[in-house]
Symmetry: C2
Subunit: 173 residues, 2 copies
DNA sequence: CTTGATGAGTCTGTCAACGAGACTTAGCCT
DNA sequence: AGGCTAAGTCTCGTTGACAGACTCATCAAG
């Protein structure tokens, strides 16, 4: 084997990495799962998830800071004003991420009786799944059809003087 | 507002949570991005990602242990036998997760010039994206059509004696 | 056969993040 | 006035991340 071409590009500005910087902290996605499921209050999340208080405050604040959740004041009759956490548009756009994770998790990690949460089409009740398509409208069914490649923000990586291995032609796994 | 119905179900066996237990550790998905991009060797990953050695060994081992990567011995002419890391089927099935993250990241987190990596349809070159569909074949375009609900593995949550709030009807965010 | 290069680690010590449990605070209710 | 409750802070011990030096096996050069 020889040098994969990817080695010549830098990935400092990788958006997957940035996304994981926000969502990859422990519990972040669990918090989002809760909000997607209609759980919006601090203590309700605590009760279901057992996330340590401190971590939960921290995650909620981070998610608010990144514009994924917003704090909404509400007042329950006979209580003082409180806040609940709701998804912003940016947060809702994480639906595919949630569905992708749950599809994979359901296939490989579920208990024999199945997963405790599923995502369904409200109108017809059928379960959801993700389809990979391309901008030209083709449906992608086999992974051989998928090709990672340098995008518009690609920058060269300066190799540290004399790191040379013979080139190869094909960069996918 | 009143008790969201989700509060009555347990989420101990949630598959999203389990998936994040594997993929949510710092760097896990970056390692996978590398492998998807054709980077398969320890030091090549180090060079691009600057992941600390110890963490990288640890992540690679975890991913192998969970059957997402496999170690493949190879021998470069004039070197001793080494190992490279390749995706298993289970690993390849994470493609939707990668694409979902990168779509979201590209929309909200990219530099002005764009992302450094994109996923394309090999046959036509067009960029990929994910479509949410339901098992009945409907294309879901609005989040209002998505409904999280208890799945087959749902278990009741034993509420700790006298945690009662009035019920509400609708559980989505 | 010795020396050196190289890929892939291990070892050590420091610092940040996580987890458990007790304590705090603001506003409402009796 | 006293108590309750949601949502935090505080404290402290444990785990995980990181940096940098060290190890180890193997092959190639001399």
């Amino acid at each position: 084997m020889a040098t994969p071409p990817a080695l010549n590009w830098s990935v400092d500005n990788c958006t997957i990495e940035r996304a994981m910087g926000i969502l990859g902290e422990k519990w972040s996605l669990v918090v989002l799962r809760e909000v997607f499921s209609g759980i919006r209050r601090f203590d309700d999340m605590r009760v279901r998830t057992h996330i340590p208080r401190q971590v939960l405050t921290n995650r909620l604040n981070n998610l608010v800071e990144h514009g994924i959740l917003r704090r909404e004041p509400y007042r329950e009759p006979g209580s003082r004003v409180r806040h609940e956490y709701r998804l912003t548009d940016k947060g809702f756009d994480l639906y595919p991420v949630m569905i992708a994770l749950s599809e994979w998790g359901n296939r490989y990690l579920a208990d024999p009786e199945g997963p405790p949460i599923e995502y369904a089409h409200r109108d017809c009740g059928a379960e959801l799944h993700l389809a990979v398509t391309c901008a030209d409208g083709h449906l992608i069914e086999k992974r051989r059809e998928i090709q990672p490649r340098p995008g518009p923000g690609t920058r060269p990586r300066r190799p540290p003087e004399g790191t040379t291995r013979p080139e190869t032609a094909n960069g996918s796994a």
